[in-house]
Symmetry: C2
Subunit: 150 residues, 2 copies
DNA sequence: TTGACAAATAGGAATGAATCCTATTTAAGA
DNA sequence: TCTTAAATAGGATTCATTCCTATTTGTCAA
């Protein structure tokens, strides 16, 4: 990500915090920066280890609590998983996910064909939909290649 | 579920175990019976508590290990979640999920419109798709009603 | 039917993830 | 500045899951 693009996102993030009356702490900004630079839907622990380079005595609890706060105010998403630790996604725009069952990688994709996954009427009346996503389980290219070696 | 329908499913389950050279133990059958009668995508702990009524000294480890085995041989699915304990789904036919963010309920639904969620070509070439599902996040009717009380 | 053996189980210990607790620090408005 | 509520660090605790090992039990072949 370009520096200017990143600064823009950080600026928007700060405005969101203000709107929600959340204090702008260096830790929060640091965690947010780590998040938007991540490409792998990181766990709290991974964010912790990364942000620790800049803030050597930040605590895990701060990182974890902050990630929950971010999810509450909508600046990140908690991603669907199949067990294991929570994973976070700084991309809150509409997109879909491939899950590799072998290596656990989550790959983002967009697709016109799913653009307006309309919600069945019978459901729209009894359930208030907030977000929609297609989740594909399978094997990524790397893992498929590995399997064929046996 | 009707008894005959259930016996049929148990019979199929037993055949699958044999095919995979898994021993048919009373615990496994008991756990499978609990699963196919569950409507709530139960956690290992809930299955454990339920099956304990019939097998008072079954261990949690047995239940948990067995559920993993079942997932491996494909007789149950591990369901996508947003953190928290693993949840299991005895319905392995194609269907979709609503997740209530307030109470955690997962509601199954089927929909013609999603019938053949075709996989984008660009993806089909690099990723081997095993299953596909639409995941809708939102609020169920009960929880929507509760929120409006405030 | 019986005996042998690998597989499965029970129960407890160990690990990992997330949350809670509390004393201390700090952002932000007066 | 000064004040105060919010946020943090660090450790303790809880909950979920996996690991370990002695014992039991399906299954298959004789």
């Amino acid at each position: 990500m370009q520096d200017t693009k990143m600064d823009q996102r950080v600026q928007l993030f700060i405005e969101t915090c203000r709107r929600r009356q959340l204090k702008i702490t260096p830790q929060r900004v640091g965690i947010y920066r780590v998040l938007i630079q991540s490409k792998r839907h990181p766990t709290a622990d991974l964010v912790f280890k990364t942000v620790k380079k800049e803030f050597p005595n930040i605590s895990f609890d701060t990182v974890n609590r902050t990630l929950s706060t971010f999810a509450e105010i909508g600046v990140v998403d908690v991603v669907e998983t199949f067990g294991g630790p929570k994973r976070f996604d700084p991309d809150i725009t509409d997109h879909h996910h491939l899950h590799c069952m072998a290596c656990g990688r989550i790959i983002d994709f967009e697709y016109e064909g799913y653009a307006r996954l309309e919600v069945p009427k019978a459901i729209a009346t009894t359930f208030k939909v907030i977000s929609r996503r297609v989740v594909l389980k399978g094997l990524c290219d790397t893992c498929t290649a590995k399997q064929q070696m046996f």
